[in-house]
Amino acid sequence: MALAVVLSAHAQNFAVTAEHLYTMDAGPQGGPGLVLIRAGKIEDVQMGAGIAVPNGYQAIHGAYVTPGLIDAYTSTGVSGAYNIPADQDQDESTDPNTADVNVRDSLNPEDKLYQYVNAYGVTTMQVTPGPRNPIAGAAGIFKTAGPNSPFRTVDELAVRLSSAMVFNLGDTPKETYGSNHKAPVTRMKTAEMIREALLQARQYQEKWDRWKEEKSDPGKRPALDVKLAALAGVVSGKTPAIFNVYRADDIDTAIRIGTEFHLKYMLASVTEGYLIRDKIRQAGVPCLVGAVMQPFEDLQTSNATYENAALLQQAGIPIAIMTGYVGYVPKSRVLLFETAIAAANGLGVEPALRAITISAAKILGIDDKTGSLAKGKDADVVVFDGDPFEYTSHVQQVMVQGEVTYQRGQ
């Protein structure tokens, strides 16, 4: 019965009224308002109290309504809930350079956590390879599917494939390989391996460009190298690089490499970002701020602070918030919960919401499709029965592209 309601909701038009509507578009936030949804898109948004719901729309009401949340960096979908070899597909740690792998080929939308995060309001997420390889592979941006969603293939869920190339610095790569006496054993080597690969990719790109320019004969065609081909997109600025970094000196290394190769890049996790925020601002690098409720698993996260997001944002750095990779129980962080801690520790409610909606969309370059409740964008909507960040509030309903993917109590 419940299923029938949900399936029939698929193609429906909705009128969502809210006591506190956060469109995250231009204009005042948090007042009463109405969002009209037709054919999976936002048809119209009207602010104000007591607006009549037009005919032909199914009415939904919430205390708080926000755009669908965007997790800027997570291994949910490739690192499964059971945490057994069968469902761990995030780290190809057989080679420190796996630039040629792509999360597209690991993504499992049927994993319990993929549905779980949708029920806490995430409608879009950038799925990333894990933390082990210095050059880890290509990320992708996908819509989430809730427990009520019919199966959709990875390509149907994709917002953007190969959205970024992930580079890991710090403790984890050297712990992965160094313990087997393989490179990298030190941070020096991690940096060198990345620089060497980027240099080769630049030369590889130049070779191909030259060959194309000279319209040389097919016999002189340069040899194809899938890793260098993937990295060529990074050095040419077509594919953004994401450096996953924790310690301040590792953040500095990322900026050094990014500057040297003129990369289009961003920083993820950024645990000690607050200690080097002036340099981050000067470099003009956006930060995907990591989860703060993670256990203190290693040395590089021992200076984590709940105020990191606020301190970075106050320095004028564009921020999004991310959940990242988790190695043990619980197998994923919850974006809404992590952001709540940031909101209550200096960031404030509206900037916190911004960090997981429109700011995240802008940083990831998907703000033409999602990230705010604005006419023409995807109808990605979350309905709450109270302050979204309050511990005791509930997500009532989640909509992805106008489809109800989660309904509380079903």
Partner: protein
């Protein structure tokens, strides 16, 4: 401002000063010792064992609670130091019934991790107290979360992991931390974790063997206890020829379980594993508390009819290992409805000790009553540790362990402002050093940038 800076510099330069500051925080009237009487007046008081008092008075002296009551109805002794806490909440210090602070210290580096003695699955002679580092910053972070009492436990890698320690979060030695007169509980575990031996070709490799090993040690202890009981009886009867049986450190501790003096704290997740815990306790007639209890709500009636409590670990998402795959924030609510007493624990480092109030709040999100959730932070865990006569509520004669909150206990926006243990303030959010144990960043205080809005 300038003064704050000087204090900060001094603390950072002197290294050990951090610990000294912990013992005797800056400012005035931080202690009720020397028979000072301290009064906290005007706040909303949650005494736990009686209804909330909107404008209350809490009187403490000599580390104990002297009086709790309504403003105007409680006699304030002459010469008392009175603190106005109008607009704030005062509640008992939080009791964490399952923690690894001090034994798995921060930062997590392999040399300092002492919770799991992976050399054999039955380790009743081990004592957590022999491996606890009182200087672990996690302990101070726990006070920033309002925790005053903790059950520090060995890990779950063994079927019988060792004796737990009931401590207050104060002092520089384990002797100062231990609660006088307590011997701790016994850590046991079943399900996934002890099967880690199986991957090395050692027992236990299956749940069957875990249960067999547990059953074996209790049978051995019963035999040991019978010998000692006979010997003690003979001595009492004046038999001077009676020969004392050989002492065994491990069996001594297990015999205390059979004597009802030591409670078993049993890590268990899956419903069938919970039933194995119950079966073993029924067979050997001992007191047990179910720890984690991820699927305990599926056998809630079995727990309720035996009056077995559950101390629940509130994680944010399912999984990380197969036995937690069915995790739900609604489990505590279901246990409550079945009449099972539920406490909340941190299992620090699994959840952080600064956020135990949050665990109770998420249970309310999952349908639990607020009253049961608050009891699950205070009096219920105290009962699960046999400490209810000392801690877990604000009543005359009990230890002066309490916290001052900025607002409603289960709100994300509420801050723990002060934490007091036996009349001594161990955490003060207005102290710039203590603040960094609440937010994180205590290793880098001198470089920590200022937050606009102050972060208070």
């Amino acid at each position: 401002m300038q003064r704050t800076k000087v204090v900060l510099m001094a603390a950072v330069c002197l290294g050990a000063a951090l610990r000294i500051a912990f013992l005797s925080p800056m400012g005035v009237a931080q202690t009720d010792h020397d028979n000072n009487v301290l009064v906290f007046e005007g706040g909303r008081i949650l005494s736990i064992t009686s209804p909330p008092i909107e404008h209350g008075v809490l009187v403490i002296k000599g580390g104990k609670i002297v009086a709790v009551g309504e403003q105007g109805k409680v006699q304030i002794p002459a010469g008392a130091t009175v603190r106005d806490v109008t607009g704030k909440i005062v509640m008992p210090g939080i009791v964490d019934s399952h923690s690894h602070i001090g034994i798995d210290p921060n930062p997590t580096v392999s040399d300092s991790q002492d919770a799991n003695e992976g050399s054999g699955p039955i380790q009743p002679a081990l004592r957590a107290l022999d491996a606890i580092d009182p200087a672990d910053p996690n302990i101070r972070m726990a006070t920033a979360g309002g925790i005053t009492t903790a059950n520090i436990m060995p890990g779950s890698g063994n079927v019988m992991g060792g004796q737990t320690a009931y401590v207050k979060l104060r002092g520089t030695t384990i002797e100062q931390m231990l609660i006088p007169g307590t011997i701790g509980g016994m850590k046991m575990a079943n399900g996934t974790n002890p099967k880690g031996y199986g991957t090395r070709g050692q027992a236990p490799m299956t749940r069957m063997e875990e249960a067999a090993l547990a059953r074996g040690i209790f049978e051995k202890a019963q035999e040991y206890k019978t010998k000692w009981d006979a010997y003690n009886k003979a001595i009492a009867a004046g038999d001077k020829t009676a020969k004392a049986p050989d002492r065994d450190l491990g069996l001594d501790a297990v015999a205390q379980i059979l004597d009802g003096k030591r409670i078993v704290h049993n890590h268990t997740h899956r419903a069938d594993d919970v039933m194995t815990v119950i079966r073993l306790a029924d067979e050997s007639h001992y007191r047990v508390v179910v720890h984690h209890g991820t699927e305990s709500c599926d056998v809630a009636d079995e727990l309720a009819k035996r009056h077995i409590g559950v101390t629940f670990t509130m994680i944010d998402a399912p999984g990380g290992k197969p036995e937690t795959i069915n995790f739900s924030i609604s489990c505590p609510a279901r246990l409550e409805k079945a009449g099972v007493k539920v406490a909340f624990n941190t299992d620090d480092p699994i959840t952080n000790s600064r956020l135990l109030l949050r665990s109770a709040a998420l249970a309310v999100r999952g349908g639990m009553s607020e009253d049961a959730a608050i009891k699950g932070l205070t009096i219920y865990p105290a009962e699960m540790l046999d400490l209810q006569s000392r801690v877990g509520s604000l009543e005359p004669g009990k230890d002066a362990d309490f916290i001052v909150l900025s607002g409603a206990p289960l709100s994300v926006y509420t801050k723990v402002l002060e934490t007091w243990i036996e009349g001594e303030k161990v955490f003060d959010r207005s102290n710039p050093i203590d603040l960094r144990y609440a937010t994180g960043g205590f290793n880098v205080i001198s470089r920590y940038p200022p937050l606009q809005g102050g972060g208070q």
